[in-house]
C-alpha cells in the first residue's frame, strides 16, 4: 500500500533534511505506529504520505514515494482525496467552519467527492455510529468538547472511506477520556483490517496494544522497525527520545534487582505485564 525508497526531503529555507534516506514498505491493512522525539520527521512523513509534502510546502524531495499506487512526486493532495485521509492534533482547526451541524461537517468531504445524497446519508450514519457521535448529529460542531471534535474530525475522514488513514498525534491535545475514545475507534478500525493505518503518537501504551508494527524515527532517519514487543523494549529507546511504557520500566528494574529471573521477555502491554509477573 505504501512504498518508500530512499526518500530525502528538505523544507524550503532549511539546510538539514527533515527526512533522510528513508526506505519503508507498509502492506495493505497494517496498523503501523511511528514514534520519535520532536523534530524526528514524523509530521513531515505524514504530510508526505498525503502529498502536502512536497506539493503544499514545496521544498526538495528525492527518492520515491508511492501511496495506493500513486507516485506522490507527481500527485497533488487533491488527487489523493478519498484514497488517503489525514487527521491531526488540533481538533478545532479540522472543523471546516462552513457547516452548522455535525452531520453536515461529515458531509463536507463527501460533497466534494460528488457522492450522491442517498449514499452520503448512509456513509454519514456509519461514520457517526463508529465514532459514537450519532446523538450529537444535529449539534453545532463548535458546541462539542475537544475530544468530541477530534472524533468528529475522525468521522469526517472515515466517511470518505480512505484506503490509507494517516493520523498525526491525534490524541496529543486530548484528556485521558478523549484519548481512550479515539484509540477505541482506531482499534475497531484495525480489527476490520481493510484500512491501512499510519499513526504518529507518543501514547506508547496504546501503540503497544494496537499497532502491528512500530517504526522509530530520529533526526529524519529510520532507526528501528519491528513488532511492538521487540521495538518498544529496545534499550536505546531513551536515547532516541521515545521513552518506554511503564510496564517495560517496572519489569526492567525488577530484572536488574534480581526479583525476576533474567531472560523473560520484557512486557509492553498490560496483559504481557501480567504474564511477566506471574
Amino acid at each position: 500500500m505504501i512504498t518508500i525508497e530512499h526518500l530525502t526531503y528538505t523544507y524550503p529555507a532549511t539546510s538539514r533534511p527533515a527526512l533522510q534516506d528513508l526506505s519503508l514498505h507498509i502492506p495493505a491493512g497494517q496498523f503501523c505506529a511511528i514514534v520519535g522525539a520532536n523534530g524526528a520527521g514524523k509530521s513531515t512523513l505524514c504530510y508526505a504520505l498525503t502529498g502536502f509534502v512536497p506539493h503544499f510546502y514545496r521544498g526538495r524531495m528525492e527518492g520515491r514515494l508511492q501511496v495506493a499506487g500513486h507516485d506522490i512526486a507527481v500527485t497533488p493532495p487533491s488527487a489523493l482525496v478519498g484514497l488517503v485521509g489525514l487527521v491531526f492534533a488540533n481538533p478545532f482547526n479540522q472543523i471546516t467552519g462552513a457547516c452548522y451541524t455535525v452531520r453536515e461537517e461529515v458531509a463536507f468531504g463527501l460533497e466534494n467527492l460528488g457522492v450522491p445524497p442517498a449514499a452520503m446519508e448512509q456513509r454519514i450514519a456509519q461514520a457517526l455510529a463508529l465514532t459514537g457521535l450519532t446523538d450529537l448529529a444535529d449539534r453545532s460542531p463548535f458546541a462539542l468538547s475537544g475530544g468530541q471534535q477530534q472524533r468528529l474530525a475522525l468521522a469526517a475522514v472515515l466517511a470518505m472511506q480512505p484506503r490509507v488513514l494517516v493520523l498525526d498525534e491525534p490524541t496529543s491535545q486530548l484528556d485521558p477520556v478523549g484519548t481512550r475514545e479515539v484509540f477505541a475507534i482506531l482499534a475497531a478500525l484495525a480489527a476490520q483490517q481493510d484500512t491501512t493505518v499510519v499513526l504518529v503518537s507518543h501514547a506508547l501504551e496504546w501503540v503497544a496494544t494496537h499497532a502491528d508494527r512500530v517504526i522509530v524515527l530520529m533526526a529524519g532517519r529510520l532507526v528501528a522497525d519491528g513488532p511492538p514487543t521487540e521495538v518498544l523494549t529496545r534499550p536505546e529507546l531513551e536515547s532516541w527520545g521515545v521513552g518506554t511504557t511503564r510496564y517495560t520500566q517496572a519489569a526492567r528494574r525488577a530484572q536488574a534487582q534480581g526479583l525476576v529471573p533474567p531472560g523473560r521477555p520484557l512486557p509492553v502491554t498490560l496483559s504481557q505485564a501480567v504474564a511477566f509477573w506471574s
Binding site: 487533491s78 482525496v81 478519498g82 489525514l86 488540533n90 462552513a98 457547516c99 460533497e111 453545532s140 463548535f142
Partner: protein, 256 residues
C-alpha cells in the same frame, strides 16, 4: 454560536428558496426608497413587511432589531433636520432656535426609508441560513472559495474573539497593564496582537491542509447534503417580483 441573525423555524418564509427571498428583499428595498409621500415607506412597512414577518414568525425580533438600528437615526434626523432646516414653518422655538415643520417631515420620510432598507435585509437574514445562501450562490456559479469565506467567517469570528479574550486575560495575569494613558495602552497592544496574529497564521496553515484533505479544491462534480426545495410557483413569484420591482422604479421615475 455563529454571527448570524438566523432564527430556526419550520414554516412560512423559512421554507422559501433563498433566491425567492433575495428577490423579495430587493422588492421591499425598492418599495422603501421609491414609494412617494412622507408616509409611503411606512405604508409599505405595514402592508408588506409586517404580514411577511408574521408569516415567518419573526415579527418581534425584526421589530427589536430594526428599532435598535433605526431609532438613533430617527432621533438625530428629527433634531438636526427640525432645528436646522433653512426656511419653513416654525412649529415652536427657543430664542434663536426654531423647529421647522418641513424639517420634521423630511426626517420622518428619511426614517421611513431607513426602516424599509433595514427591514428588507432583516427579513432575509432572520429567515435564511447563511449556508443555504452560500449553496444558492455556489449553484449559480459563485466560486466555492468565496461562499466558504462568507459562511466560515461568520462562524470563526466568535472563536477569534474568544481567543483574543483568553490572550488578554493571560497577559493581564502576568502583569500587563492595559488601562491608563494612551502611551501605556499602545504599548500594551504588542503583547496582545503578536500571539493572536502568529497563532492565527499557524491555524490558517493547518486549516488549509484540513480543508484540502477533505477535497476542498478538488475538481469535478460536487453534490450537496443540504437540499433547497424550489417550486414552479416560486420561480414564477421571482419573475413577478422582478417585474414589480422594475415597475416601481419606472413609476417613480415617470411620476417623479
Amino acid at each position: 454560536m455563529a454571527l448570524s441573525l438566523y432564527l430556526p423555524r419550520a414554516r412560512g418564509l423559512h421554507r422559501l428558496h433563498p433566491l425567492t427571498k433575495l428577490w423579495l428583499a430587493l422588492f421591499l428595498f425598492i418599495c422603501g426608497l421609491a414609494l412617494p409621500g412622507v408616509l409611503g415607506a411606512y405604508a409599505a412597512f405595514v402592508a408588506l413587511v409586517v404580514p411577511l414577518a408574521l408569516w415567518g414568525a419573526v415579527l418581534r425580533p425584526l421589530l427589536v432589531a430594526a428599532g435598535r438600528v433605526v431609532l438613533p437615526f430617527a432621533v438625530s434626523l428629527v433634531l438636526v433636520q427640525g432645528l436646522f432646516w433653512p426656511r419653513g414653518t416654525p412649529l415652536f422655538g427657543w430664542g434663536p432656535l426654531s423647529f421647522k415643520l418641513e424639517g420634521l417631515l423630511f426626517a420622518v420620510r428619511s426614517t421611513g426609508r431607513i426602516l424599509m432598507v433595514v427591514s428588507s435585509f432583516l427579513l432575509f437574514a432572520l429567515t435564511t441560513r447563511p449556508d443555504a445562501l452560500a449553496l444558492t450562490l455556489a449553484q449559480r456559479g459563485v466560486p466555492k472559495s468565496l461562499t466558504y469565506i462568507l459562511v466560515a467567517t461568520l462562524q470563526i469570528i466568535p472563536r477569534f474573539q474568544a481567543r483574543a479574550a483568553t490572550i488578554l486575560a493571560a497577559q493581564q495575569s502576568r502583569g500587563l497593564e492595559i488601562h491608563g494613558n494612551l502611551r501605556r495602552r499602545v504599548r500594551a497592544l504588542l503583547p496582545l496582537i503578536a500571539p493572536l496574529v502568529l497563532g492565527s497564521l499557524v491555524d490558517i496553515e493547518e486549516r488549509a491542509i484540513a480543508l484540502e484533505s477533505r477535497g476542498f479544491s478538488r475538481q469535478g462534480p460536487k453534490t450537496s447534503l443540504l437540499v433547497l426545495p424550489d417550486t414552479r410557483g416560486q420561480a414564477l413569484a421571482r419573475r413577478l417580483l422582478a417585474v414589480a420591482s422594475l415597475a416601481v422604479v419606472v413609476m417613480r421615475l415617470w411620476v417623479g
